[in-house]
């Protein structure tokens, strides 16, 4: 079993929909949780960063961490065609060699006009 599980999709939604992307993990030592967005033929770019549990909101994006369930989510409100990309979750325990990120495989999202 992988340390981080992420449904690869693809996920296809109409413009304006609310999108929910999720990852589950097994390592209870993870403290740092990130979502990256990757457009085709580009490098991943950091979208959201959360330390420990709770919610974080940035514009149309909300990241949630539920450490008791070992589950993280990214919500996209009022989705736009420009949100079409692959979304990768990543996490780490944060100290020493545990600064290494453990990655999900990514979920491919298509937002249709």
């Amino acid at each position: 079993q992988k340390e981080v599980e992420q449904d690869p999709g693809p996920l296809s939604v109409p413009e304006g929909a609310i999108v929910s992307l999720n990852c589950t993990y097994s390592n209870s030592a993870f403290q740092y949780f990130m979502w990256y967005r990757q457009y085709s033929r580009k490098g991943p770019e950091l979208l959201m960063y959360t330390y420990s549990s709770g919610n974080k909101e940035d514009g149309r994006f909300t990241a949630q961490v539920d450490k008791s369930s070992k589950y993280i989510s990214l919500f996209i409100r009022d989705s736009q065609p420009s949100d079409s990309a692959t979304y990768l979750c990543a996490m780490s325990a944060g100290a020493g060699n545990n600064r290494k990120l453990i990655w999900g495989l990514g979920t491919s999202l298509a937002v249709n006009p």
């Binding site: 490098g43 950091l46 960063y49 990120l101």
Partner: protein, 111 residues
Amino acid sequence: DAGITQSPRHKVTETGTPVTLRCHQTENHRYMYWYRQDPGHGLRLIHYSYGVKDTDKGEVSDGYSVSRSKTEDFLLTLESATSSQTSVYFCAISEGGGTQYFGPGTRLTVL
């Protein structure tokens, strides 16, 4: 991609030839990473560096070596390229707080 460049951006080479990829940063970040990204496998860490001349292996380090003689440069070398090393290679940098920032990638094809 601001502050991180990778060269070359595309390369086609033949099996058995040596290949060196370069990552250059202008952010003065301590940590630098090399990943490969393949369908079905996602991002996999090859090697990383936690300072000048300080490097360590990642999960897929066989067939790869790295060097970091200056803070700003991190080189990845394939001593004798094989077709299984055809991939997209990404460099990333970090200050160590948990987040990493990625370069634009290098597409390598080994024939």
